[in-house]
Amino acid sequence: MADPKPGNAAPAKKAATGAYTPAGVSPNRRARHKYTVRLWAVRHSRFFEWFYNRFAAAFLLLHPVWKLFGYERVERPITFVERHVKGFLFDCRMCGQCALSSTGMSCPMNCPKQLRNGPCGGVRANGNCEVEPDMPCVWVQAWKGSQNMVNGNAIMNVQKPVNQSLRETSSWLRVTAEAAAARETAGRDA
């Protein structure tokens, strides 16, 4: 075992006994070594915000296409694409209810406590995570990212708890279907 991580009393104590501890072990997942792409995405949160707005509009334009094939049938391929694109850019965890535009383009599901409403009280003085000492705190990044965004104030909204039954489903399709439904009801009322 290399140097015990500072700030974690129990693992440090265990390491001091000389017992074997595999490297990079965390209670949540194997710690990743690089967060380069994710951090880059946060630094360019404004671009991603702009891009996503265009992208969502395009997806909504394609609503007749999704409807023609059936949302259930396109779900699998779209989910596949979404998982890999967002997985690469944001280390997406496929919670199925994307909050990226409210969290400065820093995915809150990467927080070991999966906090969706702001940083916990354990953030280290250097801005790193309490649980994963090598990882920059997701919420410190989110705050920075939101400051660059036009609609960065969305970080102040209280997010609902995650609906676990929506895991591994496409957030893009859900948003599109909801927007299309809202547009239809608005059209009917008018």
Binding site: K113, C137, Q159
Partner: protein, 364 residues
Amino acid sequence: MAHFDENPLGPHLPLDPLPGHSSLGRLERVLRRGEFAVTAELNPPDSANPEDVYERAAIFDGWVDGINAVDASGANCHMSSVGICALLTRMGYAPIMQIACRDKNRIAIQGDVLGAAAMGVCNIMCLTGDGVQAGDQPGAKPVFDLDCMSLLETVRIMRDNAKFLSGRKLTTPPKVFLGAAINPFAPPYDFRPYRLAKKIEAGAQFVQSQYCFDVPMFREYMKKVRDLGLHEKCYILVGVGPMASAKTAKWIRSNVPGIHIPDQIIARLEGAQDQKKEGKQLCIDIINEVKEIEGVSGIHVMAYRQEEYVAEIVHESGVLKGRKPWTREPNPVDSLVAERLEEARAGKEQNQQEMAEIAAHHPH
């Protein structure tokens, strides 16, 4: 005479409802009256003996307005907060039940809230909880189904709308005073006041802060809080506590996440002859500084393993201004009962008729 914050029918019973109050508890009354509140943290026992809880609570008797029952703080296993609260409410204490999101999902939490409120718990504090890596069982599965914000909102919906999170109706909603935690001493510093605003929006009515050792930093935070007008919507209790020695302070600084101790504090402790005494004095000095800050409604004393000093610290800092919080007085009948039991054990003949006569015509 019974304390004015006590139900005359028994200390374990709820108080009369007051307008504008969301709970039937003592802590909310004290805060809403504008008095400087004092709360303390009970060190949860690692035992199944109720006496351990009563002993630890008795230390605070007459010095605090609320006792925090921690929910496996630092992710270390102890008696559960629900259990501690059940014992404390029986005796008439005003526990603040902490709920951490680490160990329970939304189903368990909502059930616990109802159970606790039924037992007479009037104050619930919603926390995220430390990560499991910090505690004695780092191999445990972290739950974190809700976070502190959605937990606050859940309990607020249960109380105000009489509904579960699912929308199912409650026949009697839990009347609780809702609390949360703040840590102004961890990054991102400029987000922290907004996070308090979010917590208030989600339902927080009082907040207790993390250990405050850096008063200038806290003053800066409070300035921002006042600018946002948050101190008028929520009671802010500052976390304070004595440090046993410079060594402890250093250990805490490097091993307990989220506690910020500036170098000059450690230097002051190191330079002292009697470090324990200096730690206590430091705590009193910090109390005296923070109580003057506008928007501070009370203090939360966390004297882990030094609980016996809480009374002294509260007394010497003079924050109660002569006010005496509720204290558990022995029932006047208790001594009579004890005497009779003693007589019965000694085999002394008891004249039932005569005793019934006394009881009927000369009540206590």
